[in-house]
């Protein structure tokens, strides 16, 4: 009890406490013991810019909860923060290896990640068999949770949830915004030929055509492309009123914009998914940083809520803790941790006999479809597939004075 109070009152003491309980001698004891939240995100290059806010968000949530839930002490040691990047970019094989290591660490009762859907496809079969709760703050590929493709990834009961909505919502949200709000009826679509980029561009194209819009051309340029100017000159020949890019900054988001400006498409709205919503112009490697003033007509979507009660407090807390503004999926990382903390509270209440039982109790608690979680993003529930009830996509535009993304509006697809 004494130790618990210390943990609540002082973060430093909590660290000291957990350091003690980490030693093999301290199993059992007054607290129910130490458990880990594992993190699995790519941490190299431009993907590091997207992952760091998530990790910070998770750590912030755990810290604000006093590092405890359900009578357990929660730690996130470096050894369970895994990097699935290889040679500067995410790698499915590495992600799978990491997941085997995480699943085998019995103190881990939940894993937050990954960033990329292609990595998730290699990981879910492993975490599923291990009965380990997994919460992704950023996976948006529909195949991970819906229909036959998702069923093929799972042998046991579902263990995977995500706090962001899917590409089949994010793509149409951009399409709706371009067609209804920006009043543009023809669009040029280009993707980066990767899982995420192509998927979201496909969803966009389908919706845009369904709305009666014209697609002047659909093209794809792998990230190794050299000459984007030619591609955009070809794009300009179709006189599109808008450009939609499916992909992330690392695979060409800013390069295509620069080339578009050279090809005479500089004044045309340039819209992209969350992959280009990766921080302000001062964030290294971010879209806005690379695009400079050419980002003037840029818009991006974020598969999550853009403004919410307590956003100001969250931003302030985050800033105080990390001396940098919360960007990208920081709030989603925070939300994942909140869901886990809440679930651990309920799982702990069932007094599981050992860590193995706790992991299963945790999985049951996390995927409980009747539970309404109160998170930083508002009240959310998860359906049997593990998809969030919150199907909100936020639209951002470029704010030239702040040199940052400015929240425009959000579209709620929950009722649709």
């Amino acid at each position: 009890m004494k130790l618990r109070k210390l943990g609540v009152f002082a973060a430093g003491a909590a660290v000291a406490f957990s350091a003690c309980s980490n030693t093999p001698a301290a199993t059992g004891g007054a607290s129910k013991g130490t458990v880990y939240f594992a993190i699995e995100l790519p941490q190299q290059g431009s993907e590091k810019a997207a992952s760091d806010p998530i990790i910070n968000g998770i750590k912030l949530a755990v810290k604000q909860a006093g590092g405890k839930a359900g009578g357990y002490t929660i730690e996130i040691p470096q050894s369970v923060i895994k990097d699935d990047a290889l040679n500067g970019a995410h790698d499915a094989q590495t992600g799978a290896n990491n997941m085997s290591q995480i699943v085998a660490e019995e103190k881990v009762i939940g894993v937050i990640g990954p960033l990329n859907s292609s990595v998730a496809k290699a990981q879910i079969p492993i975490s599923n068999e291990g009965g380990l709760s997994q919460c992704s703050p950023a996976n948006t590929n529909p195949d991970l949770t819906k229909g036959a493709p998702a069923a093929q990834l799972r042998k046991k009961a579902n263990n995977y949830i995500r706090v962001v909505t899917t590409d089949d919502v994010q793509g149409p949200a951009a399409s709706q915004y371009i067609y209804d709000t920006l009043k543009k009826t023809s669009v040029y679509i280009i993707d980066d030929t990767e899982t995420f980029g192509k998927g979201v561009a496909d969803a966009f194209e389908k919706d845009f055509k369904a709305r009666g819009g014209t697609v002047t051309k659909r093209d794809g340029a792998p990230k190794t492309t050299q000459d984007y100017v030619t591609i955009m000159t070809a794009a300009a020949s179709g006189n599109p009123q808008a450009i939609y890019f499916g992909g992330v900054t690392a695979t060409g988001g800013a390069r295509i914009l620069l080339a578009a400006a050279q090809a005479g498409l500089g004044k045309v709205p340039y819209v992209g998914p969350d992959g280009i919503n990766d921080g302000s112009a001062t964030t290294k490697d971010s879209f806005l940083n690379l695009a400079g003033d050419k980002a003037a007509n840029s818009y991006s979507t974020l598969a999550g809520i853009g403004t919410f009660d307590g956003k100001a407090k969250f931003d302030a807390d985050y800033l105080a803790e990390y001396k940098t503004a919360a960007t990208g999926y920081a709030a989603q990382g925070y939300a994942c941790a909140q869901v886990f903390l809440d679930a651990l509270g309920r799982a702990g209440a069932t007094n599981p006999a050992d860590l193995k039982a706790l992991r299963e109790a945790m999985r049951v608690a996390v995927t409980d479809t009747s539970r309404t979680y109160t998170t930083i993003q508002g009240k959310i529930t998860f359906n049997a597939d593990g998809d969030t009830s919150q199907k909100i996509v936020s639209i951002y535009s470029f704010d030239a004075t702040a040199k940052d993304w400015k929240f425009e509006t959000q579209v709620d697809y929950a009722s649709k």
Binding site: Q43, Q78, D91, A92, M99, S100
Partner: protein, 417 residues
Amino acid sequence: MTAAKAAVRPPKPTGWRAIRERMRNYAHHHRSITILWTMAIAGALLIVLPRIPPLNLIQSANPWYDAFANAGVYVLLAMGLNVVVGLAGLLDLGYAAFFAIGAYTYAYSNSPFSGQDLPFFPMLVVGAAVAAVFGIALGAPTLRLRGDYLAIMTLGFGEIVPIVFVNSDPYTNGTNGIGGIYRPEALPFFGEFSPLTSFNYMIVMIVIVTVAMMLLYRLHDSRIGRAWMAIREDELAAAANGINTVVTKLLAFALGATTSGFAGVFNASKLTIVSPDQFLFAVSFTVLAMIIVGGMGNIWGVAAGGFIVFMIQAVVLKQLSGIAETLQKAGLLPVFDIGPLHVDIAKVNFVEYQYLLFGIALVIMMLKRPEGLFPSQVRRAELHAAEELGPDDPELLGALGDTPGNDEDMGDPAASR
């Protein structure tokens, strides 16, 4: 060269040396049995070691088994590439393409994408055979080219294959890849294959590696093996001595592709997803680094090289941050500042430096120890001159020319280096 200097000193006949000599003699005469024994011992070690300190302190047994099974994939790849590069002297930089072909073959035969569910073990052979066919198809027109053209040609092929897989959506499911691949059927005595108990995968891998090693050694010691080495040393001379160089080189190429195909099938069945981005140039490069470090031309050497390099890549570099953090907590590893530089070793992402380390290792090995960490006897013979090998040594027959460092118009290789 330090090695050359060492050779000048007469060998000291000690007890250990005598034992080694006898073991080597035995190994020469009973190659397959030696491999069986060695692999049995290695397998037993791989099973036991993760359960005892220090390994079990780093992570529990299953991730070790998992890593060993994955390492086996690279050991196979290294042994296959060794035939092409190490034995026949053909630089193949698109080796990952055959790995991809093996993997996709299994994905087609065992996934909801194609609706097929064929048994694993026969598919192992089929996948390898398909890879071999592609190897021959690529090799037949290109093996007439000289070595460096072949390198660039295979590099191009290695780039083409993923592009085709990415852009042929109806046939390959494009960039998403084929997911939900079925795992192999349960084994008698060992039970189901599962990601949680990678033990079965490891056992199967050990068997595959053992069989592959036995076959490769048979070939290595045969007429074909000697022909490969003859071609490596001097293609013109080999041709003049009646070796059909095109067919022999093609065989090396096909065999390399076959081994890679085995690895591909196994990997697909283990990872349960294949996608084009798993087979980029980085894979070919990693395997190349493995055989260089291990010792080109020596089957045991490259197998060890593959294993060691993979374990460094997959486990050691990953665990370093965790170990550093533990040390920090124990107060053994200070965080300090050097001028503006803030040094916190636990925060360093060691994995990020992986390819830099590989590149440096590759260059240093080529410059300072081209025979690798575990050199083949041929290489050793070259560096230790005549005094170590008897005239009746079988290895000498294929190796009277010398390995890198020979050219028609330059003399002694040691002098030229």
